[in-house]
C-alpha cells in the first residue's frame, strides 16, 4: 500500500534522533530528556509525544494497541490507530496480551504487562513540579539537586487541610530512588503497576518536547508519609457488566434521575473477564 509518506510518517533521521533520546532516557530513569519534537498531523495535547515515540520504535512486525481512558474504541484512540494504519499498515489489536506495543492515555491496562511489551504514555505535562514552580530554569535545578522539599510540603499541606493527599490522578512518584516523575494523568489506582513492571515504559511529551523512561524492573514509589501511607481508589460497587471488583471503574449515568452504574474503564479486561466467567 502506498501512503505517500515514509513508514510511520517521520523521516528516518528524525526517528533515529528520537531513538537516541529514548536510549538516553532509559539510561537515566525518570529524567526528562529534551528532544527535537516535531509537528505532527494531530493536535498538540492529543498525544503527539506518544505518537512520535511510537512512530520511532514501531516496526512492521509490531502489533499495536491504543487506548484512551482505558478503552480501545474512544474517538481519540480510534483516530491514532487510523493514523498508524494509514502510515504503517500494521496489525492493530484490542487484546492487551497480544500487543507488542501499547500507546495509552490516562490508564495502564489491568492485565499485567510482560517483558516483551512496551507501553508508551502520552504526556501532557512532563514536569511534576510545574504547578509548584512555573519556571523551567528553576525546576531543572531542583531536579539536578534532588531538591524536592516543595513537593513534600505540598503533600503535607493537603493532608493538614483535608486529612489526606487529594491528588487522585497524576500522583507523583519517585523513580529508582532519584527523580520525582509525573506518571501522566493515570489514576493513582494504576501507580502500583508501574513499580517493577516487566515491560519498558516510555513517556512522550510532544508540546513540551520531553521524553522520559522507566526501564523494566525499576523501583517506582508513590510519594507518601509513614503515618499517611499511599492508598489507591476503591469502590463499594462492582462492574455491572463483568462483575469485577478489582478493576478501575467508570461511573455512567443511566437515566434522567441520575441513577448510576459502574463499569470497567479497561474495555479489553472487561470483555475477557466476562468471557472467562461464562
Amino acid at each position: 500500500m502506498k501512503t505517500g509518506f515514509n513508514f510511520a510518517y517521520l523521516d528516518e533521521a528524525t526517528k533515529r534522533m528520537i531513538r537516541r533520546k529514548i536510549l538516553k532516557a532509559i539510561c537515566i530513569p525518570g529524567y526528562q530528556c529534551p528532544f527535537g519534537g516535531r509537528e505532527m498531523p494531530l493536535a498538540y495535547g492529543w498525544g503527539t509525544g506518544g505518537i512520535q515515540v511510537t512512530a520511532s520504535i514501531i516496526g512492521k512486525q509490531d502489533i499495536l494497541k491504543v487506548i484512551d481512558q482505558g478503552a480501545d474504541d474512544t474517538t481519540n484512540a480510534v483516530s491514532i490507530k487510523n493514523f498508524f494504519k494509514r502510515v504503517c499498515n500494521i496489525m492493530i489489536t484490542d487484546r492487551t496480551a497480544e500487543a507488542s506495543l501499547i500507546q495509552t492515555r490516562h490508564r495502564i491496562p489491568e492485565t499485567t504487562l510482560n517483558k516483551d511489551q512496551i507501553i508508551v504514555y502520552q504526556v501532557p505535562q512532563p514536569e511534576p513540579l510545574r504547578k509548584l514552580e512555573p519556571k523551567e530554569k528553576e525546576t531543572r535545578k531542583l531536579h539536578a539537586y534532588k531538591e524536592y522539599a516543595l513537593m513534600h510540603v505540598k503533600l503535607y499541606e493537603e493532608i493538614s487541610q483535608f486529612g489526606s493527599v487529594i491528588k487522585t490522578w497524576a500522583y507523583p512518584v519517585e523513580t529508582n530512588n532519584r527523580y520525582i516523575t509525573d506518571p501522566t494523568p493515570i489514576p493513582k489506582f494504576d501507580n502500583p503497576k508501574m513499580n517493577n513492571m516487566e515491560a519498558l515504559q516510555l513517556f512522550g511529551a510532544g508540546r513540551e518536547k520531553r521524553i522520559y523512561a522507566i526501564p523494566p524492573y525499576t523501583k517506582v514509589k508513590s510519594l507518601d508519609f509513614d503515618d499517611h501511607p499511599f492508598e489507591i481508589q476503591t469502590w463499594d460497587e462492582c462492574c455491572s457488566i463483568c462483575g469485577s471488583t478489582k478493576s478501575y471503574l467508570d461511573e455512567i449515568i443511566i437515566n434522567n434521575e441520575g441513577k448510576k452504574n459502574f463499569i470497567c474503564s479497561d474495555t479489553d479486561f472487561c470483555k475477557s473477564n466476562l468471557e472467562k466467567n461464562k
Binding site: F5, N6, D11, P34, G36, G37, R38, E39, M40, P41, A43, Y44, G45, W46, T48, D68, Q69, G70, A71, D73, T74, T75, N76, A77, V78, S79, N82, R105, H106, R107, P124, P134, K135, E136, K137, F162, G163, I166, T168, W169, A170, P185, P187, F189, R207, K209, R210, Q233, W235, S240, I241, Y248, L249, D250, E251, I252, N261, I263, S265, T267
Partner: protein
Amino acid sequence: MYVAVKGGEKAIKSSLKLLEKKRKETGTKSIEINQIKEQLSFAVDRVINEGSLYDKDLSALAIKQSQGDLVEAIFLLRAYRTTLERYAYSTAIDTSKIIIKRRISASFKDIPGGQILGPTFDYSHRLLDFSLMREDEINSYENINNQEPKNKEFPSVIDYLNNENLLEQEINNLNDNPFDVTRDPMKFPASRDQWMQILARGDEGFLLGLSYSAIRGFGSKGTHPFVGEIKYGIVDIFISPDELGFEICIGEIEISECQMIDQFEGNKNTPPQFTRGYGLTFGYNERKSMAISIVDRALKSEGYGEEIKFPIQDQEFVLYHADNVEAQGFVTHLKLPHYVDFQGELNLIRKLRNEILQGKKL
C-alpha cells in the same frame, strides 16, 4: 450500557462527512486556489508565517481545506512542513537589497530613497464598500500611475544614527549554527536567534496583545518607541553549498521588516544610546513585524540588567506561549474524555464529604 464509549470509528467517519457537507451545502462554486492567493492575500501571508513555510499555493490550499479557520490552516501547513527534508540553511538575507513595495520611517521626515507608501489600509476609510457585494466576474484594475522606485539599494534608515553612535550596536554574535526551533527543544536563557524564530512564527494576536501591553504601561520602560523604518518588498535568498564554495540565489521571498527605536540606556560611564527592537516576517505582515520588534526589545531586558517586572519581559512566559499550534492543541485537548480522572475526583470528593458529614453527626 456501553453507549458512552462505543462507536468512535463510526462517529469519526460521520463527523468528517458533516464537515465536508458544511463546505458544500448550498452548492456554490468551488473557490480556486488562485482566487484565495490573490484576493485573500493577507490571510495567505499570515498562514505562511505562522505555518512557517513559504509556499503561498499550499497556504491557499490549507485555507480552503480549513474552510477559512486560519489557526487550523496554520496547523495543516506545519504538519506538512514537518515531513520536508532539510537540504540547506540559507545565508542571512540582506534587506537593503530589496525590490521595495513600501517603506516608511516615522522618525525622520525625509529619508534617502524617499518614503514610499505602497499598498496599505492605513489611509483607507473603514467603510464597507457595498459595490463589492456584486463585483464583475473577472477582476481587473485601472492602471494606476505607479512610479516604480528605481533604487535597488535601501540602506537601513537607522544606520544614520549608527554613524553617530547614538544607537546600540547589534553585536554580531551569530554563529554558523543558529538555533533551530524546528529541530531543537526550547532552552533557557533563550538566545536571540531562538526567540526571533519563535516570534516570527508566533501567534499574531498573542504578540499584538503583548506588544500593546508594553506600550500601554506593562513594559520595560513603559514608554513609546519610534518606528525607525518599516519595509515591505522582495529579497533574494542565497545558499552557499559546501561543495561549491560560493553563494547561489535559489529564489526570492516577500518580507516585512520593522526596525524600532526604543529608550536609551547608559550610565555615568557609558554615554547613553538608543536601544532597538527588530521584527521580520514572511510576506506582507506589517502589523506583526511591528509587534515582534516591541516584544524583541522587551526580551532583551535581561541583557540590559533591567528589572523583569512584566509578562512581556519574561522569556519563558512569552516563548512558551506564543505558538498557536501548541496553544490551540492543548486548550482544545480539554474536550477529550477525562472520565477516568474525573472519576478519581468524584470518588475523593464523596469520601471527603462523608468523613466531614459523619464526623459532624457524632
